[in-house]
Symmetry: D2
């Protein structure tokens, strides 16, 4: 497989290269960086020193993709939609890590506060692997889910596919490490500002909200035929850590259910899923169990006093929330074992 990675020096791009570098069945034929083209990768990202991949030259996007069969776009939103059509026209497959292909035009423009190219969404398959595997296998353009969206959707899918959750007042209290904010230095990501601090941001306005709503609605419709709009309040918070997302989702159930029954529903849904770990009832996932891996760890709890179902889900935002899921989708698209290159035990 000949792969190009565009936006190779951002955190998702670096992670994609890091995960693909050891693979013998993949050749990285091009890497691009708008700002650092001309440098060797190891000059731009010194962690790559001493690895063969570190001697790759950063190219312009055009040069990077020439020989690629599959192009991973780890570009800022607004860029991916501009380059994808031509790549597809050249017969390449595209996995887009940005939000450019996840939403219909109206939703995109409303949530991203940016112009959409009209057909960006229509061509793409939403790349939540555990949900869309069959379509992904045949896709040529993958809209890789957002990091928060992956975490929230995997937490709530079983409830919506089985239609046991109310459609409104789904509250997702989400917390993410700073790498989710990208590599560009800003006042928010300054060490002195983020360290020993914690706060909510983009309350009710986070751009991953509509893809969560669409996915949950569509998941229920697919399984049950019942179609109703879904309302999610996504409250995102910034954790003083490098990586990891934890979602605490609060949902009203349509009918009474025991805690164990609730957990059984998750176990049944994710049985055989290599990257989803449903914890014993009452056990809460920890970021250190998923960071450095492509896994999602899920814990469920049914509060007897408020009759609220709580689903906790944890993942590494740069792996299962970005580059890892991209490679999982790449594996599915290319018929390789889905776990290839993604088998990591978390470190201490």
């Amino acid at each position: 497989m000949r792969i190009a990675i565009c936006g190779a020096t951002g955190y998702s791009g670096i992670e994609a290269i890091r995960l693909l570098a050891p693979r013998t069945d993949v050749t990285i034929v091009g890497i691009s960086s708008e700002t650092q083209a001309g440098l060797m990768l190891e000059e731009a990202v010194p962690g790559f020193r001493g690895f063969a991949v570190g001697r790759l030259r950063l190219l312009s996007l055009r040069d990077a993709v020439t020989e690629a069969e599959v192009v991973i776009l780890a570009l800022p939103h607004g860029e991916a939609m501009r380059v994808a059509p031509e790549l597809l026209a050249q017969g390449k497959s595209v996995i887009d890590l940005s939000g450019d292909h996840r939403l219909p035009r109206d939703a995109y423009e409303s949530w991203y506060k940016a112009e959409s190219l009209s057909d960006a969404y229509a061509d793409a398959i939403y790349g939540l692997t555990e949900w869309n595997r069959a379509a992904i296998a045949k896709a040529s353009l993958i809209a890789n889910p957002g990091c928060y969206a992956t975490c929230a959707e995997l937490a709530l899918l079983p409830l919506f596919e089985r239609d046991v959750a109310e459609s409104s007042q789904i509250l997702i209290d989400a917390k993410s490490g700073v790498s989710g904010a990208g590599k560009k230095p800003t006042a928010t990501t300054h060490y002195v500002e983020a360290d020993e601090n914690f706060f909510a941001y983009k309350l009710g306005r986070h751009q991953h909200t509509p893809e969560i709503e669409m996915t949950l609605r569509e998941a229920r419709r697919r399984q049950t035929g019942f179609d109703e709009s879904v309302q999610v309040l996504l409250a995102t918070h910034l954790l003083p850590i490098k990586r990891g997302i934890l979602c605490t989702a609060y949902v009203k159930l349509k009918e009474e259910m025991s805690g164990e029954a609730l957990r059984d529903l998750f176990c049944a849904r994710y049985e055989g899923e290599p990257f989803v770990d449903v914890l014993p009832y009452g056990v809460s996932p920890q970021l250190k169990w998923v960071n450095g891996t492509n896994r999602v760890s899920i814990g469920v709890y049914l509060d007897p006093r408020t009759q609220t179902a709580v689903v906790l889900s944890a993942l590494d935002n740069l792996i299962k929330g970005a580059a890892g899921q991209a490679i999982q989708n790449l594996n599915v698209m290319t018929g390789v074992n889905e776990q290839e290159g993604l088998w990591f035990v978390p470190a201490v």
Copy 2:
């Protein structure tokens, strides 16, 4: 004022001494430590080296309180209730930082999984200063509120006093720094386990839950006469920081209200309160704005899509959530300016 501090080498005890040490109107006449009695304070807590207070000798509880008019109990729960009656009988005032005097016997035994002495609760005034100031001024025994409870109650008081919130499905997603877990080394508080990690704990079982429910219920009853039990789901999480609590509370309103009207209600309630800062609408509080201070910072947001009121509140768990509020109550009890010794601008 002659003060004794019992449990002087725990985090709350240290903080109480630190805050009282500069005051010229207060004399610390005794400090106690069960495990380190005999040492000078600066030997047990080297940060006190070079300060006069550091040369105080740690005593047994009995010896520490002899000359005190007011005793601050910074003891583990289960201890305070054993020593308070005798201190009161000797005519001393007592401020108890533990949970021993906050709950009726049944609730205490159910939530703390420990035996209660029958009359611990009956004698005490709940020390949420902004709510109970008049009673505190006349009290001889203060049940100082829990750290999470203080943060959650100040976030929700205005809604219940004005009876605009539903009584059930009050969801409080709370996050605390590690000092809240106390000074005793455990697997959970080991640096390598807590650093770069994040997780929920005691989901639905945190012992501060009932005092929040009682306070909100009673606050509404006092103001409106309307009495109805209140159900809170408190979901506590451990942040990889030293100090600070942020609560994100989600509440259903009884009737429609604009976001600004919601904020006005908070501004009206807390007008003139020196330690409560209601932020402009849509601004979220940050821990760095409150850590090191006795303040609570509150932000409100009304989600138009899910009709959910979100109230964010932040405080320093060792100051406003423990020793600072104890001293605020001490000031009220003794007729001193309430802000005395508690005026701190947060550091960078």
Copy 3:
């Protein structure tokens, strides 16, 4: 005292305001910010919300200083030397936190890689309070020492004043928190880059080197008449913390000495110094004992195997290493008690 603080929204400027705000004997008559002039302080630095000082308006430098008797310059180097002469000509006193007035022209240009105005150095008194107190009391322009320099100089002063240390191969392995790098977001100060990381920087090239060498040389000359150039290798490292500097200094002694005798020399030198704490022999200072205070904590150790004297010193880079020492100097200059407004017990 009417004080102006220029560069009020950088970390040192903020800290100066924070430390001065509670004082009743000081009036802050002006604060300036080149980039945020026009805003209220609490808009630029939300931690100041709710404090009277937060309602001060950020002005241009010219407007900020109009009514001031003393001006604290917390500006980038290169700026202070441009504005100081006019301020002095207007009869104001100036405390300059930058490096602009610490070095002779040649040394400045060589170490700062920037042009000097010829007479910047000649007019200034070096503001290491514990060393230069008498001169500071009469000064109108203070060159406040660098953060690393303060930490290293206080560690080595007793050895040079008593002429017991060799002049060459003085190795200072220094480690600083990220706030020392300033508030401007850069790749180095990005949370994801600094967190869980550690490295040396500017090895042998740090601009605080020459002021350390000059001060140690001059200190020895003053006490003993013996004049010899001093060579320091300053190896600065970046710690993943907000604040604090620890220096581990390695020195060859001219003659054999016991560890206790070495410590006695420090005790004698710093007896009565309110902000220097000489630890018992063999005890190492910790940043948590000095952060948040204006103190330096010093530990000494004499290695019997390599005959090396090791002096460890710790301070808060924004307080004793910058704004705190500036205020200490302000107190000395204006005849106020030197400890005024600088009495802090370190927090947990």
Copy 4:
């Protein structure tokens, strides 16, 4: 290869399992834990949930080693020397991560303050792979080097093998993450005590000192025949991070040398070494470039002002400083490609 890992739930033991788990040429036939025997690994260390290795049962040491050809001892010092002889007598190979087999009896007892079994040292080969590869290949008992020792020795080996460094006043200012202190909760490793803190400990008394001195002396003797005792001052400091060691070593050279010549000497020594990366002259290694890998990153600098050679070295204390080097040695001992299972690009 049939491997047993004893002390499987300490940080080094966990890391050894984590690194070996993906290998198809290695079978983990037993894992032991004194305190948690009987549990499945994934119950004791939840990060292993969902991996085959997580279903291994923790056994007593005796049961764990029964079928093993090679036993990795990740036990506290004092334990390994008790069990190694019997394992060797049974024809098993042993890799000991503790200090039990690194030092002659006198040195051990003096530095470890503990009794030695007389012949623990005589039987063992010191496992600094880059230095002792030939002997390791034939060894049945490996004394795996200490974490600080590995970092310091690889920094200084080229200087001693080429006899360009003075034997005395070798100053190693070393900084380690908290995992080096082990998994047992203590006051020192409590999050609230270690976070935002930094300090030196065991100054001049760290037990890795004598193995560094012995290795450097022997390395020089082997290459040059010149035998002279070597004196090292090891000043260890605790960094508020999970993992990583950085050593800043200061050495006097016997004769003048240019910086580039100094670096050439390192490049020549480590040419072809897969796990040693000599950086360009003047570039300082960063922990983030080595954490998560088995690599050492080395930077050199020659200070023209003090004529001091500075060598900076960085490694992951749990990998190259412990379990990774153990596996590197295992590979060498068993004739497998030395890099097998140790090829990791560092993560963002």
